[in-house]
Symmetry: C2
Subunit: 421 residues, 2 copies
């Protein structure tokens, strides 16, 4: 089935916001095995919207529209779609009740608040449309099946759109697909994109079904293995040997096969599992490594403190780096990274530490120590490992890569000494 995406909103045409909905919906459609040939953006203008929707319905099997379902006069998506599909708008009592209930909850503690009349516009639906309840807003989603075409209308705010798609649209579209599409995610760290591709070039060249798609992230590579089959059992059977082969080829570089897990989550899990307390010590990343770990709820179980030793004085005070080391080797050196990691463990009594010192640029680089040079250290069980990196890119890119490689080194050092109880 061919799917087309139409996003409605003047704010997209003015560049006020980035169209993250398009990327999200495109990835979801790819996962469903739908072929997306076109995406478009149009403003809240009746004539142009009519033209875009009519063209989409004409050339695609499924059209997903998002945005323009709100209560104001500007919001035209539903009205224009109904016209294009030749359908009448009627009031839906269930939706009217949902809006009432949603607003009542919103108004708790505000006795003066009143539902404005324009809100009831949102209870009008094309006659015969499937209604998708909106748990996070007042505009319901809609699915229209007419003349062999499917048109799906979704609210624009991502916090309304995403749960509605996942819980209601995804299962609906999956039912419509003649085949079952199943995929598995393999997340890899500590090895570059081109090295990953080299290692599986033969598998990619030979692939047909299942397929392997490569997604390069900063410091990570994600592989999605997707199979199409007549049943879920069959698809699973097809995916299994491919995943097994990938596990053989990438071994410990695979940090998870869980779609929703992040690298920082897996590192926190590992620390929890080994009952370790962590301290971070950062110079050029300036706290970004600690902040990334704190993304994970419950990080406080393992991350006890983070030190941003941005000056030489603070490197000496908080992580006991020697004056002579800073003088002879410099703040960006193998030895400083080592002493930072070691000193952090000594000064805090933690079990493990990870240190980062480097030149993020744009200034301060020399021929011997160019911008992008970063040393990352990890002190664990009395041993301190230091790795040297030469990262490409601007200041923020260098720092982002350093954060990921800090997580990777930490993970490697713990895995090396893994205690299985």
């Amino acid at each position: 089935m061919i799917v087309e995406l139409v996003c409605v909103g003047t704010e997209l045409l003015l560049g006020n916001i980035v169209n993250t909905n398009a990327a999200y919906l495109a990835e979801m459609c790819a996962r469903l095995g739908l072929s997306m040939y076109y995406q478009s953006v149009v403003g809240d203008n009746e004539e142009r919207m009519t033209q875009v929707i009519a063209q989409a319905v004409d050339r695609s099997d499924v059209v997903i529209l998002c945005g323009g379902l709100g209560p104001t006069q500007d919001d035209l998506t539903k009205e224009v779609t109904a016209k294009v599909m030749g359908m009448k708008l009627v009031e839906d009592e269930h939706t009217r009740n949902c809006i009432q209930e949603y607003m009542n909850n919103l108004f708790v503690g505000r006795p003066d608040a009143k539902i404005t009349d324009n809100n009831w516009k949102q209870a009008l639906v094309p006659e015969g449309a499937l209604i998708l309840d909106n748990a996070n807003g007042t505009a319901p989603g809609l699915i229209i099946e007419e003349n062999g075409k499917i048109v799906i209308l979704l609210p624009g705010p991502p916090n309304e759109l995403k749960p509605m798609f996942e819980n209601q649209v995804y299962p609906y579209l999956r039912e419509k697909q003649p085949e079952v599409i199943l995929s598995r995610m393999i997340k890899i760290c500590g090895i570059g994109e081109s090295a990953v591709e080299d290692k599986i070039q033969d598998m990619i060249d030979a692939q047909n079904n299942p397929t392997i798609a490569t997604y390069a992230k900063t410091g990570e590579v994600h592989l999605r293995v997707t199979a199409r089959a007549e049943s879920e059992a069959e698809a699973k059977k097809m995916i299994k040997p491919v995943v097994r082969e990938l596990k053989v080829r990438f071994g410990k570089n695979i940090y998870t096969t869980d779609e929703h897990k992040t690298l920082e989550e897996c590192v926190i899990d590992l620390l929890k599992d080994q009952e370790l307390e962590l301290t971070t010590v950062e110079s050029c990343t300036g706290g970004a490594l600690a902040a990334r770990l704190v993304n994970v709820p419950g990080a406080s179980d393992v991350l006890k403190q983070g030190l941003v030793t941005y000056s030489n004085k603070s490197k000496r005070k908080f992580t006991l780096v020697k004056k002579s080391t800073l003088k002879d080797e410099g703040a960006v050196s193998h030895k400083t990274a080592k002493e930072m990691a070691k000193g952090a463990v000594e000064n805090t009594g933690c079990d493990v530490s990870v240190s980062v010192t480097g030149l993020a640029g744009p200034n301060g680089g020399t021929k011997e120590k160019p911008v992008g040079l970063v040393y990352i250290g990890c002190c664990y069980k009395g041993k301190t490992t230091v790795r040297e990196f030469h990262f490409n890119g601007n200041r923020s890119k260098v720092r982002e890569q350093a954060v990921v490689q800090g997580l990777v080194l930490l993970r490697d050092c713990i895995l090396e000494n893994y205690v299985n109880e």
Copy 2:
């Protein structure tokens, strides 16, 4: 003039990447006073690309295409555009030399590296096109003027597209505009979006030329004042009283009127100007406040260290928070924020500190201390100021807002004691 944007790339249709180019180019076009009615995305498919480009050229005055200019067989944008416009492709010697030079630089220190034949495809250009040199890659950009239409081809990677647009396309399009479009940016912090809108509702209601556009960012509001006039001098004259009025209404809440400056940059400038050394002390933001300051090159002149005191023990050790305070008031309390800020100054000898402690969630909230409760402190010149916040949103949203309000409080405290020499 009506402008239309066409982005080419299968990776956009699969949702592998977010289309940030579209937002960037849309904002730039809005700034140029061009009206954008449509954006679309199409894959590397000759038939569909032909259809999309032909339609765009038909209905718009200016068509900006981005992506698909690379050296591979898949890259078709230039070939399809030439066909649609009825133009012949010819080799451009200047571009050939640029490619040679770019690759020579890339290959320094790699004597075995060789330019592969497919690269020369990038030296082919539609006969008579304007060539836009690419300082950051091998594919040049192109401007085609034919039959009263303008078609602009740009490379897809943002680090190639942005400088090319800013340095070459922006001035070109500005020349083409019959009117002069001039805008000024006003960046505001420490006051919410709806409060900002309330304060200028009368100005927005009455506006025609110049216009005021509101852009809500996390913890900040940006206002863009745009005037259209026959000359730059006239446009400036029109903008001036509006900017003056906004300055009266928002006073010190305006942190900059410089398009390119960020809040963290202005805070760092202020610290430098007052010759102050800073320490950050963070709990729930986990280093993100320090990391944001470190975004600014040269932050090391003022940020001496950051402490991520994520555990009670580390709050006591590094920032001298009293055991009784943690026991009686809890880690998330006015008093703890105060002692963190004060203790950081005492323990490090810095001039000023900013502290953050709060509940980012999703767990750990109670009726008295709900998720979103954050205390932010600043110790400067012997006085510690603490502000209490109740932020909405998920864990990362709460933390993001806390970081911005940390910068705002720091700025306010320094401005209050500003020394003008």
